[in-house]
Symmetry: C2
Subunit: 171 residues, 2 copies
């Protein structure tokens, strides 16, 4: 998440800007906190995954494949699922193939192309890394919220996720 300012720029507004619904101070501090936590948390979790020689995107791929039937997924679906472009995903899978974590294979009789498979080594890596990663998520985020905060935030976020998912489906 990369977009801080949504306040009025500190200059006289042009007429077209009069209608601009600038965030007020309360909204602004919330929006900035949201962006900052997203970014700093990703940074911290990435750093801790580096101890296992994994990028955070690699971890995500391992997780998604581990949850798929037969531990494999069509490359195009994997791109959608991880919200990456096909070309970026392709580069990432190449790196992960070199590391022995995944394998790219055509599916006989399926014209729709290549699959990424989780290898035995990829699966073992995920099993080894996951407990540390969960501890990081707890330490830096989840355990810093009360049960009430966690439930309230879920109630606030779930309909927003649904809205954004629907928008994305239309695109």
């Amino acid at each position: 998440m990369d977009t801080p300012v949504t306040e009025a720029p500190a200059v006289p507004h042009s007429p077209a800007e009069e209608d601009a619904p600038w965030l007020d101070a309360r909204e602004q501090r919330f929006w900035r906190a949201h962006l900052e936590v997203g970014k700093l948390l990703e940074h911290q979790l990435s750093r801790e995954l580096q101890a296992h020689n994994l990028a955070i995107n690699d971890y995500e791929i391992l997780v998604v494949l581990s949850e798929s039937p037969e531990h494999r997924m069509r490359m195009t679906d994997l791109a959608t699922s991880t919200m990456q472009s096909k070309s970026r995903l392709s580069h990432q899978i190449t790196r992960m193939e070199t590391a022995g974590l995944v394998l790219r294979q055509e599916c006989p009789g399926d014209r729709r192309g290549l699959y990424a498979h989780l290898t035995e080594r990829g699966w073992e890596t995920l099993r080894k890394v996951a407990p540390d990663h969960v501890r990081s998520v707890r330490e830096h985020f989840v355990d810093r919220l009360t049960d009430e905060q966690l439930d309230a935030m879920y109630a606030a976020l779930a309909p927003i996720a649904e809205h954004l998912r629907a928008l994305r489906g239309r695109s």
Copy 2:
């Protein structure tokens, strides 16, 4: 944000994993909603900025520079502020220079290197784009929260941001 699974993998645990503090179902659905909203929101805001030929990272750079004294910042500080590596920032600034939005210049008498300056065109671009961007942030996020939700989420996020900022400072 890219890291979904923090549940127990669906296999028998090895002894080392017995201690792993897996997220329970409630924590898990919250964590996934948090990641999903972060990712989908960034995707949606990026799409809407594309109408202005701006990447979301470009927008952030424009904002940060517009808020800096004399509309400029040392490249190393800009990298820290935007949480990018120096090499990645350098590539981005090159692209933005080509588009006429920023200018890289040495500061006479300052050995600590290059500054990025916001150009007049960069400033005009920000002023033109900001109102639409704010509308996007409202439409897809802020206006979907009640005042109470917004304040509750800020109260939850602010100490986490502080914790993560402190950790980062130590690194």
